[in-house]
Symmetry: C2
Subunit: 468 residues, 2 copies
Amino acid sequence: MSHTVVARLQDALGASVTTDPDALEATRDDRSGWRSASLPIAVVLATSVDEVQAVMRIAHATGTPVVPRGAGTGLAGGAIASPGAIVLDLSRMNRVLEISDADELAVVEPGVLNGDLNDLLAARGLWFAPDPASRAISSIGGNIATNAGGLLCAKYGVTREAVLGLAVVLADGRLLRTGHRTVKGVTGYDLTALLTGSEGTLGVIVEATVRLRPIMPGATVTVAGVFADVDGAAAASAAVTAARLRPAVLELIDAAGLARVAAHLGDDELAGTPLATLAPGETFLLAQTDGAGAADEAAAIAARFAAAGGRVSTSTDDATGDRLLDIRRAMHPALAASGNVLIEDVAVPRSRLPEMFREIEQIGARHGIEIPTLAHAGDGNLHPNFVYTGDEVPPHIWQAADEMFRAAVALGGTLTGEHGVGVLKRRWLADELGDDSFELQRGIKALFDPTGILNPGVMFEASAPAPR
Amino acid sequence: MSHTVVARLQDALGASVTTDPDALEATRDDRSGWRSASLPIAVVLATSVDEVQAVMRIAHATGTPVVPRGAGTGLAGGAIASPGAIVLDLSRMNRVLEISDADELAVVEPGVLNGDLNDLLAARGLWFAPDPASRAISSIGGNIATNAGGLLCAKYGVTREAVLGLAVVLADGRLLRTGHRTVKGVTGYDLTALLTGSEGTLGVIVEATVRLRPIMPGATVTVAGVFADVDGAAAASAAVTAARLRPAVLELIDAAGLARVAAHLGDDELAGTPLATLAPGETFLLAQTDGAGAADEAAAIAARFAAAGGRVSTSTDDATGDRLLDIRRAMHPALAASGNVLIEDVAVPRSRLPEMFREIEQIGARHGIEIPTLAHAGDGNLHPNFVYTGDEVPPHIWQAADEMFRAAVALGGTLTGEHGVGVLKRRWLADELGDDSFELQRGIKALFDPTGILNPGVMFEASAPAPR
């Protein structure tokens, strides 16, 4: 059967289809630490909407599962090989089809990297705001499929707010267009928003019309604070938001996380920064302000940091700001360098951030593990990280993650703020949603994908037992 | 049958049910100019979630249509009596349940008026950004049901972007909760966004958790420009956006609209404003800037207005700014005072605004009618207005509206930017969406409302012929 499917793909798509063992093998993981037990039957490196439609028609006709995959940088196992599946790789569909200065929008293929689009836009004074920490390596299709968050969401919104319209290939190969080239538009239900964050389970994104913004005028100002412990950093963060200050970036790294980053980067990388001389237990809070009031806002933030006991430094040159932000962005690579990492992604109302840090500490203590954590403090999104060795997540880490999820939901939060459910967190989906919502969500899935061929096992448990 | 239904409602809900002829009569229209041919069988003035659930359980058991209704200020006939229906009036559910300063959110019942919430918030330095021109009289439940737009959307987003979570009573009476108290959250499909703008066809909104913003610091600066014709105003608007300026408000009123507003308000209201001495054919463009860079941005805007030939005045006092904005907000009352009004609500990419104005002029000329128009120029949303006398929209006006819709879509735009489809625009829904999207949207409707009792005839044509 799979032989026939591959033959049909090859007939229709020729050289875009590969069954090369290395290519198949490469689709078994992403950046989540999860590793699929299965290989796909083939990888299709699609180069056009027509090719994507051809794949879906063959999959539909043969009942073959399809896993849409972009840059492979997902953190929840949402785009990895599943049993008997075709992996539909969209990374070669990476053309920027249009940039409209007048309408402040771009039309892109899904494989365009977030950072590449922003490089193109900078010369025009424009900017695509969604800013996952992975922007240099993650694709816009994947950003949309996960409704990616990032560092700027409290001020500039999540990916959903930057998506005006989509072209999506449906399970049976039809091409659906949603949305508009306008900021406003309320004709019918908002399928653009429904598809954003749907993790490849409702359709394959083949084109996106995204909203751009003018680059903020003036310099970005960076305020860095080093605190004796996580309570100090959390208190400073709370004081900033209580004062109605709205920095573009407000990132917190706890002591365990900071120690790992510092060790990973080494003394040379940290020389001259406030992190050059860290005492044990110290934590880091990084704010950036932008726009016309950036300097005043930064001064007000620095005062709150100092009042909360921080060692504070403020800089107005971009190089220093970028350097400090790069230290923050090095958190995931630093952890990945020391083992496999299960990244939690809980979000809580930001007022509950100090409580959530205490919960994390207690969970770590109960299980005898260190849980290096960073937080997008402005929006209450935390990434507690579990580092482990070996191919599989050990049971006690799953247990700790389970306690983490339940603590976040009990505080009014959610299982996943920005990474998505994927295969990693599907076990908790129904728990968070409740029966009525879960049933409606299954209904939406069945409406778009009646035969269940789109990314089975992602978000919802597959009907057949999924591999671990 | 309807007798039995009313008896069951009265048994369950007592004094919340009315069949008073005046109360029934009052639900036959909204602010759209559309008038239902039917009376409802009863009006329920619900005061609690329990009561809403009780209504839906009875409706579900008896197959009775239900029309959810808020403040009755809709502009598309989305909440007016339909044949044999219960009108479920939510205007008494108007409590603000919670305001969280720390998390910058409010939890409200659906009947809370937009303006009332903002009055409450002002003392705390907070603000609910969705700003329909009707904010003094429209309810937040209705704002969410229509995904209302308004004057500030280019800078501050549409209503969807301010809704974090909902409580919704489903067609069979179950209570569904969606979303979070956090800015981020990607667990499952985005039902909050799907329900926002669903016009009462998928469920009854009984509670909303909405996102608040800090009030922008500093004074608002207002720039008013009077231009010899609509081309001048449109050129000035295009020059502002091309310069990457981002005013909070950018409103354009054409000559016919301006003449109506001026006549309606009278000389006293206009005295001392730039509109006190209008030459025939003159048009109005109003910008407001806010935040730390407001003064600089206003100066840059004033320069563009002047360069495009405008008579320009700039003011930094709130009283003048409010007065000028009130003149803009008087547009709809001014038209309503002179007859029934069919309000179009097309949106086009803002670069196509001058073309759309030309289309409007040509359509008016073809049909021998004046079409007073205003535009949210910053986001390309236009309200061409058709004033008529008599109970029904005359055929030539429907014909002109049809041409308007097709022109907007041909320019890359949409049938409705912010008012919703309602009964007024359902005839065009499938034309804009196309067959595949229309079919999926019908599927979503059937999933949430399998027996079709929720607001039948709104958005989709009712299976039985709907009254005109």
